[in-house]
Symmetry: C2
Subunit: 233 residues, 2 copies
DNA sequence: TGTGACAAATAAGTCTGACTTTTTGATCCA
DNA sequence: TGGATCAAAAAGTCAGACTTATTTGTCACA
């Protein structure tokens, strides 16, 4: 779904990217372009394009006479959506989920505060609609419907903040929320307290109460941290 | 400095990247690989590699029979350090500086709180050293020395937070701080209140007072926002 | 008039092979 | 020992031929 049909180099990345981000090659490992081209049965030019992409993500470094060396995780472009998807799909999933949730706990409250100041009337309406959708789907194992409105809610907040960098976290938050519903333990209906908080955030934004919107959103993210045992209950 | 000697494709990116991120091509503009190769006097293969990199940054989209189309800014990978550098170097600098400063105001307080919990003894020592270095360079127009310790201070905080995604913002914060000192108005000595706050943050981290570290760092970032007139004074 | 199939044009995508350049590391000599 | 030189290795570059997907336009047919 993520990267289909982007040509041969994309096909190569679909398997090489996950391998590297899963840590299958220890940092400093050396790959040879020719060998990779052979392995994936593509021409050197295609392989070179794939390497260029990995290089732009700071996953590898290409140097003459030595080859393509895998970089240490600390150097990776961990905000690259593609890297995040690869990590979420592989063995590194738990840690990626944790670091993203911590990031959310920092960003979303501030974004909500800004949204209270900057949201358009239309965005306020959308927000209320999302919150009501969450309420409507909060009972009776309607997890998909709940997820849909939850994702939309957080997306509106991030967009309404007016900050382009916050807005670009919408996809990431969506994948975290989807992950929680699909992969992890989420058999039961969502916590009613969390649902209420979302409704109240929508209220606060509508009433332009930035301080309250921020505080309530912080409570939501604290809940998300607790789900992953990052905070003591 | 940023991207020297990465080969011909890197040379091409050094001029094409800034052009695109500066908004010189309106979204939807179509570039032709052949024409670009001619313009930069490189082979098609080199040009293709450059396009692949731009594509992985979501700056452009390459489609058969139509060409390389420039994407809307809302789709760019705005967390890519290279994209950030390009934008900081061009016409988009003011907005990039603002959005980064808002991001800092969200992330750094939380990072400081985590640092108070997770910092090693060595990191605590480094932090204190940085704060003292700031104090020592805070008077008499020793701006470079002050900047050096300021950057180091924030880097230690982000690293000590224990969150890999926070840690990767160190370079970005460094560029924001450097930008403030070099490009923008910063003729006078730094605000003594800000210096004191840094010393106090180091104290709070050392004493494992997460709540205080977070609150004090929030004051620091509020100051940064005010410098850019993002907050009312 | 509209619609669907078919053909042509276009630009990216791919492959191959020859060549260049940089870097490493080994060898040889002082 | 140490420094200069040389050879090998692997990425980098180029040119050209070919393939493929996609769009656009045309024409026949309903």
């Amino acid at each position: 779904m993520s990267t289909m049909g982007r040509g041969l180099h994309g096909r190569v990345l679909d398997t090489l990217g996950p391998e590297i981000t899963a840590g299958e090659y220890p940092p400093g490992s050396v790959l040879r372009t020719d060998e990779l081209a052979q392995r994936f049965d593509v021409s050197r030019s295609v392989m070179r394009e794939a390497v260029r992409v990995l290089e732009s993500m700071h996953l590898v470094e290409s140097r003459r006479r030595v080859g393509v060396t895998v970089r240490a995780k600390a150097e990776w472009n961990v905000y690259d959506p593609q890297v995040i998807r690869w990590r979420l799909a592989g063995a590194d999933r738990p840690q990626q989920l944790r670091s993203l949730t911590v990031l959310r706990s920092a960003v979303e409250p501030v974004a909500a505060g800004l949204a209270a100041k900057n949201a358009t009337a239309e965005q306020c309406a959308e927000l209320t609609e999302c919150a009501l959708g969450m309420v409507a789907n909060s009972r009776g194992h309607q997890l998909e419907g709940y997820l849909f409105h939850d994702v939309a809610f957080h997306r509106v907040i991030l967009n309404a903040s007016g900050n382009e960098m916050f807005a670009r976290l919408g996809d990431v938050v969506a994948e975290v929320l989807a992950g929680r519903t699909h992969h992890d333990v989420m058999f039961e209906d969502p916590d009613p307290a969390a649902v209420t908080l979302h409704v109240q955030v929508a209220e606060a934004v509508r009433e332009r109460d930035a301080e309250r919107a921020e505080r309530l959103t912080r409570e939501i993210t604290i809940g998300a941290l607790q789900e992953l045992d990052i905070l003591a209950p």
